[in-house]
Amino acid sequence: MKLLRLELFGFKSFLNRTVFHFSEGITSIVGPNGCGKSNIVDAIVWALGERGTKSLRIKDMGDVIFHGSNGKRPVNVAEVAVDFFDGQKEVAIKRRIYRDGTNEYYMNGTLVRLKDIQDFFLGTGVGLNAYAIVEQGRVEYFIQMKPQERRVLIEETS
């Protein structure tokens, strides 16, 4: 399972369609404070099905939709697509949300349920409880967690 591409628009500060191609090795994302770097992590985690508001730094799910700036009007839809290579073929996951709160999930262009996406990722290490995503300010997460939580993490990697 390789991360190939991220494409997003209307998601938080990414008003316009923006595409990231991911290659092998180490990629760094850089830029001034407040320019939108952590919003990229939020976009990937959200596309994989995240529904918790705290880790997305929002109050309602609609808060991920671009809410306007001095020069630009708010929009009514946010969309994030993440493409993977699963060893044999490309798999495209997409999530869309409208102002009225309705969510749509797509896999390779077909409307699916969130559960289908979660089932697809089961056992691959990708997906919501991926230990390998460390949000900003949470570098001490693994030393601060309770011993029971640490045990669950090791069980999940068994």
Partner: protein, 146 residues
Amino acid sequence: AKDIFSETFVRVNETFQRFVKTLFKGGKGYLSLTQDGSGVDMYVQPPGKKVNRMEQLSGGEKALVSIAFLLALMDTRPSPFSLLDEIDAPLDDSNLLSLLQIMKDISAKTQIVFITHNRLTMESSDTIYGITMEEEGVSKIVSVRL
């Protein structure tokens, strides 16, 4: 289920010990099951120090211990990719360079994506994406030359 857990536990523990030794340039670290077996504790002794409780460690030392555990999981059961948002903020240059060396090795199996303000991390990356807000409030990609 019990056997699989203890097998994985042994491997994660061995790898944790190895990464602690590398990151702390010595010393020792290990994981151990709690008395009732329901949880996993972690202990680290930086070289030459006597640490009674993990709370005594410095901010940077705590970050390194936490990272060593993450690396142990990533090594035992590689995840396809890893997103790391400013994990280098509390580290001094020498510890960051040791971490980046380990990350270079791990990046053969796992795609690593750092978000960083630190030049050392940028310089050891294969690809760099710059983000900017030419129009206030609107993010876009911009090319970066180091």
